[in-house]
């Protein structure tokens, strides 16, 4: 098993945290993991992305030029990363703010309207775990019980009061993701 994933969007969307939850879940499942962020001056509003690799073998390169899965959360990231999904791979995107939808026919494409769903619920902070839930529905690379441990481990203690809401968001994300092709 080897899953090479990129999560890309705006800073402030929880892109890096989502990757961290997934990486911790992988650790709980005894996988080798790498979490390689874009880092820098980008804060809220700038671009942010993270490459997460989960594997049952030692991971050679922590960076990749093609991905099994891309989770794309803004238009710039769509331009940059849609071409980098492996043929037969998976592209998941939030439709909010996307002006040019994915065009490739040789990959599976899923949409998840997490931005609007979070806005409807008045829970913007659950955006990234909702996306994560959608991803795990499509690509169940880690057991849900390990995701819950990963979630707890990657959150600071002061945020543990939000654990059950995030668990619910993960579950709900799995319900609202839909296959485009």
């Amino acid at each position: 098993m080897k899953e090479t994933l990129i999560i890309a969007g705006f800073g402030g969307q929880g892109v890096l945290s989502m990757g961290k939850i997934l990486a911790y879940s992988g650790v709980m499942q005894d996988y080798e993991v790498t979490w390689m962020p874009s880092y820098g001056p980008e804060m809220r509003g700038g671009t942010a992305n993270v490459t997460v690799i989960l594997s049952d073998r030692k991971i050679s390169s922590p960076i990749a030029h093609e991905f099994d899965t891309a989770i794309i959360l803004n238009q710039q990231s769509m331009e940059k990363f849609e071409p980098m999904v492996k043929p037969g791979g998976v592209l998941i995107y939030d439709t909010n703010g996307i002006t040019r939808h994915p065009v490739r026919e040789d990959i599976s494409v899923y949409a998840i309207d997490a931005t609007s769903e979070c806005a409807r619920m008045g829970q913007a902070k659950l955006f990234n775990t909702m996306i994560l839930g959608g991803y795990l529905k499509v690509c169940p690379v880690v057991e849900m019980e390990n995701v819950m441990i990963g979630l707890k481990k990657s959150l600071p203690e002061r945020a543990w009061k939000m654990l059950s809401a995030n668990e619910e968001a993960i579950r709900h994300g799995g319900e609202i993701i839909r296959k485009i092709r």
Partner: protein
Amino acid sequence: MAEKEVKLMKGNEVIAHAAIRYGCDGYFGYPITPQSEVMETLMELKPWETTGMVVLQAESEISSINMVYGGASAGKRVMTSSSSPGISLMAEGISYLAGAELPCLIINCQRGGPGLGTIQPSQGDYFQACKGGGHGDYRLIVLAPNSVQEMHDHVALAFDLAFKYRNPAMILADGAIGQMMEKVVLAPQRPRKTDEELRAECGSWAAQGKPATRGRNVVTSLELQSEKMEIINQRLQAKYEAMERDEVRYEAIDCDDADYVIVAFGSSARICSATVEMARAEGLKVGLLRPITLYPFPSKPIAELASRGVKGFLAAELNAGQMVEDVRLAVEGKAPVAHYGRQGGMLFNPDEVLEALKEKLIKK
């Protein structure tokens, strides 16, 4: 599944944990991207409340390195960390530490240069780390970790070697290794050395308070009599020769039957290990030689590969061609040596390195 003691951490964070657990006495630093998490983590862990380790944010890199000089003069295990421009500011102090034969740990989490350059990863400080940086004929022990686990392990290794040779040691990492998270197993907590232990270990040279039983210990790099200074220089060189004889460390992946060998260190070596996998899948016999110590450099294993009939070497580095010079010196003209690099904070991809290998060596 039962919870294990496996942590998920950034390379920079693990440096802090490893230092505390090793029994480090003091950290002196000044923040700079991409290594600020080292001091941030130390401040969060508050080791002064547990092991008694001092953590101090100095007013500048120049102060940091001179605080290291002070602590090391007393035989303490002290360290600093910075990134490229900050290390340049420390260069004078590093030369003085080497001249006064003071053991310490310096971490350079490299970013692109020259000047302020970029905050993204680079390996442009190879020359600075291995060939000088500061003035005078001196060497640092230079370690190049390629994973978060090695960032952890090299802290103990660097301190051990620094004290063995009474010489500053540097961990030459980069922004990619510093910012990346991986699994890591932390070492058990060791106690810091007691004053008695330090006197037993460093009493012959450290400034720990003069007992009536011996003369003064003077820690200095100054000697105005040329005859005496040359003897000091020769002693330093003898020490470096001993390091070159006994402390070379490297990893050879698929080199035994290789027609072509990539030489790469740190984050580049991680990327190039995937290049080797890709090449082998295509039926190309490619190996990777990864220097773990950049000084002392693994010249001998590279020379042996060249003598054995390797058809070409590719030094893949995130710079314009620095380590490649040491590869050429080791190969001594027995085979072509090419360089492939990216700069400015750009990383290369595994396939890009394979293309370069074909272009520069195989097709020729």
